[in-house]
Symmetry: C2
Subunit: 355 residues, 2 copies
Amino acid sequence: MRSTEDLLKRFVAGDRVALSRIITLVENRDEGYAELFDRIFPRTGRAYRIGVTGPPGAGKSTLVSCLVQSIRATGGTVGVIAVDPTSPFTGGALLGDRIRMQEIGCDEGVFVRSMATRGSLGGLAEAAGDVADVMDAFGQDVVITETVGVGQCELDIAQACYTTIVVIVPESGDSVQAMKSGLMEIADIIVINKSDREGAERIAAETRSMLELRRPHAYARPHGEAGRAERPGEPPQVARESLGANGHRINGREEPTRLQVPVLQTIASRREGIAELREAVERHRQFLSASGMLERHRKANVEATIRGVVDLELSRKVWNEASVARLHSLVADVIEGKKTPRQASDEIISLVGDI
Amino acid sequence: MRSTEDLLKRFVAGDRVALSRIITLVENRDEGYAELFDRIFPRTGRAYRIGVTGPPGAGKSTLVSCLVQSIRATGGTVGVIAVDPTSPFTGGALLGDRIRMQEIGCDEGVFVRSMATRGSLGGLAEAAGDVADVMDAFGQDVVITETVGVGQCELDIAQACYTTIVVIVPESGDSVQAMKSGLMEIADIIVINKSDREGAERIAAETRSMLELRRPHAYARPHGEAGRAERPGEPPQVARESLGANGHRINGREEPTRLQVPVLQTIASRREGIAELREAVERHRQFLSASGMLERHRKANVEATIRGVVDLELSRKVWNEASVARLHSLVADVIEGKKTPRQASDEIISLVGDI
């Protein structure tokens, strides 16, 4: 307890070692993590959360490095969470990526953390969200979570961020695959990285038309330009203008659920297109903020956190020595066909009685 | 209710349409699925469960097809679950795979089902386990679950199977990546598929030495041959012999936790090496059965099922109209810093009172 207080004190004072230690506790769901997390939670809610996802080898880490440097240039502090879902086979220049990450990691205003699936109990998405909360509580202005977009978990992580950037490369099928998988549906910004490669223009055009075909009514189109995708360099579509225009109907109210998704081209290795990307993020942030969706997003995240704590607490209350012992005898009953799983469950729950 | 009874009757009578319908209900966690699942659960426990996992493009589906045909040739019925974790970018000849699958799917003794992450509430691993249970209850002798080995979810699915086959190809880094990721640790059998490619022998040898380095004490080595990996064609290492020999210490008792992991070479597209693979599976099955580990495995699966039902029931009890309403007001309190997530959780749980 003594050391917890000390750890918290150092965390609040901006000690990076304390931050690192608390992240580890939270990531591993170590004993006492719940109490610690509860203590720092009131400090959260200030960081802007950006998700970056896409296929292996799309240059996500390089792009994130560029984005971090761009944010640092204007004085913001950044936390980066690189989620590597065990990924034995996702390939890509992992080592190279991490080295590039280390470059930005030397900066005192940047805190980089890699997370892997293994070792984190509970869901990876939940743990990644908790780590983002810790970085937020520490005072980082922006938290960027980078994931390889291969599963539901990665989609969940991306959706917990305010702005989700989907990165693809000019390779045959990538955009089609991304679209099929539902990844495009969660994108607030699409980046065609490595745009010096052949076919970049074509993929960008294809992606824009796919976006048009896919969700014709889900975007805010303030100027009534149904068929036109936004490109960098065009005047920003201010969110306020679009409110109440031709948006999506939710709960009986007309409102835009999202901005039209810009399709940008970058060459992260040469830092080309980064200013445009940064602008697009800022435009999206302003849209969310002005439309009240940022607040709604924050509420949804807090709601998920509370639900997570409820689940954990219930599980703690139900699984004690007596109920685990009963579980073992019930397993035998179920295998022998004397009871069904639900009858077994009812017995266990009745053991707990008043929670 | 009427239609549920009818559905169950047809399921028990071996109606494949009813099987398909029930799988859908269970996979989607549709209303009434819990009751239905509970009714058919007593029929489970007979199918042998095999997991096949590995990187995209390793030829898993072709290998599974071969394995299915081999099992069919000796009269066994098979259920195949192809888990495709959204996989926008896992690549591979998906369409081709499915076409190959359809070949075996025309056989009345084979039931093939694809599962994707999207659309399944609850965890994919849980849902895949439930679908395996349904196929088991239907009477399939063997259930094979094929996953792309990229995340914790896939590891969980593989571990719920009795025999886990990890498939890799002779490509640089695959075996090292698989080892790093922990995939090798869950392998009961390792297959180097596409062994007509260059480097197959080298990869096989590398893999064998990595296995030796990695877990020197975790394997049963009945003949005291510490440095020697098992190869197809060698006499089977009968499990009974190895009991109490030089195994792993668990709970104070000396016992072998697993057989030495064979590294096999196959060329699934030409059906080469399938008989050896089938033999290795059978050898592993006999080992599990004779050592009592099959029973332990079954118990662990049933325990996980009961725990899943308990979680679901608790969640149903806690989240009612009143608690959800309270949750919404608590979210605001937490955001304003008036309460911590745990205080909010305590209030919600206290609302439920006696469960």
